[in-house]
């Protein structure tokens, strides 16, 4: 039975209003509390370690929700989820973690995902992070996602952390085989004394494998961020890394994109920028009647859209 708080957290991280449509698994405070498999989408708890296995049959289309919520203080939850998207399947998978930390102890979730997107399959993967709590307890999230994009498959990752997470160290690794395509959008906002590290390594393994990594972040208050997106081409692949940060107040941002080619046919590009909100942008929106604060808010929310 989901409480009102559970529902609120699910709404924040997965836009869910009550029970998810399609197949799902809801994990709360270290336990799977509700689960539904469908024909062609099997979700089972793992036997040897905490976590679940999601197995999608070849050619299956559908939606899978696997949100995690935490509502207690002084807890640390580590899960290993394996996800296998069968050949030619087309799946939207919504993961994510919402923490309501009611106390002064810390609440931490480390989710380790291994995802196989088999030949010709298509995966849209969304992972949102959210934290709240007013007793000073830390909200910590350390996700690790290891992704295998097979021949001719397509994977799109949307990784979002906008509010309330004090610490995060995110690791994303991907191997993209010939003809495979990977698109990764990362959006991050930190405030106060929060810090966020994101370490990305994408390997383009074969011909016509492509990757696009777009990272947008806003660092406010005294928060700090570090980005290490690396793109490595073993074959004649094409890739683009774009890191763009708005820096405000006393925040710090380090952005270290790396491109690395092991093949003379590879084409790799990186762009990185850190800057404050441009004065002319604020003036433009203020000339529409917005206050300076509203203008700033509109620029940031557009930037992180």
């Amino acid at each position: 039975m989901l409480t009102a708080l559970d529902k609120k957290l699910l709404e924040e991280i997965a836009d869910l209003h009550g029970e998810p449509p399609g197949a799902f698994n809801i994990r709360k405070d270290g336990q799977g509390i509700e689960r539904r498999s469908l024909e062609g989408i099997e979700i089972n708890p793992k036997k040897d370690q905490p976590g679940i296995e999601v197995i999608v049959a070849p050619g299956k289309e559908g939606t899978v929700h696997i949100p995690v919520i935490m509502t207690e203080t002084n807890q640390s939850d580590l899960v290993y989820n394996n996800i296998d998207i069968g050949a030619e399947a087309s799946i939207t998978l919504v993961a994510g973690c919402g923490i309501h930390n009611p106390g002064s102890g810390s609440a931490q979730h480390d989710g380790i995902h291994e995802i196989h997107v088999r030949k010709g399959a298509r995966l849209i993967y969304t992972e949102k992070h959210f934290g709240e709590g007013d007793q000073g307890g830390k909200r910590v999230l350390n996700p690790k996602t290891v992704l295998y994009v097979e021949e001719g498959a397509y994977a799109e990752l949307e990784l979002v952390q906008i509010k309330g997470v004090d610490q995060t160290s995110r690791v994303t690794e991907a191997e993209v085989k010939a003809g495979g395509r990977l698109v990764m959008y990362e959006r991050l906002l930190t405030d106060g004394n929060q810090f966020a590290d994101s370490d990305v390594l994408v390997k383009l393994m074969g011909e016509e494998s492509t990757a696009r990594i777009v990272s947008r972040s806003v660092a406010q208050g005294s928060s700090s961020q570090k980005f290490y997106p690396r793109l490595l081409a073993y074959g004649p692949g094409r890739g683009h890394v774009e890191c763009d940060s708005i820096i405000m107040d006393q925040a710090t941002v380090r952005s270290v994109p790396e491109i690395w080619a092991e093949n003379s046919e590879a084409e790799l590009v990186h762009e990185a920028a850190i800057g404050k909100i441009a004065g002319e942008q604020l003036i433009k929106l203020m000339s529409l009647g917005l206050t300076e604060e509203e203008a700033e808010e509109a620029i940031i929310s557009g930037f992180l859209k």
Binding site: R216, D244, A278, E280, Q281, I283, K284, L285, M286, S287, L288, G289, L290, T291, E292, A298, I299, G302, F303, L304, K305
Partner: protein, 248 residues
Amino acid sequence: MLSLENIYLELEVEERKIPILSDINLTFEAGKMYALTGPNGSGKSSVARVAMGIYRQTTGKVIYNGEEISTLGISERARKGIGYAFQHPPRFKGMPVKDMLELAFKYSDGYNCQVLRDIGLCPDDYLERTLDNSLSGGEIKRIEIATLLAQNPKVRIFDEPEAGIDLWSFEQLIDVIGSSHREDTTTVIISHQEKILNMVDEIVLIRGGTVNMRGGREEIWPQIKESAACSCRQDCRLEEEIYADCPR
């Protein structure tokens, strides 16, 4: 009615105060269209920016409908009904055109996405586009004009609306600025285009940061043309003399 009274403006550049405007006295009445013209760097945009509150004048007053608004900020002036389409509109990463128009509608009394069509952009093609480098200079400029049309302020200041716009769209642009002008609207267009100077009620020539001439288009346009030609001839002769003295 918007008036600038005895406006002097100095801007600080690298710790030096540079005089930009001196003794500007201008009144823009409701229902009339005005053109501000003059050489590059003469202070036309600075006049607009003082009116909008982007630059704060060193001395002088800005009066709007009888109320002194000299100390009001940009947002407050916008809410009172003053709007400004930038000469070089900034770009906004991630912000869709739709969001910008919605922000413009926020304090207006009802326009709609028709404004995009009015300036020759199909809403279906543009509403979801983002205002970043993926749009050309001409597209950004037209969206900027559409934003001011959406905002629908009582005083509309267009800063070189024709800059970067192709000839086909230019005619449409003139039409839409003209047709959206109402009895209670004041339209001020900073421009060098003869067609724009021909469509307004009054032309103001700004030179060296001050009002050099002003009047109806019939009286002022011939003088501007002559003055421009004279200064061009003078510049040319000067150049000839320099070249003549120059040992090669």
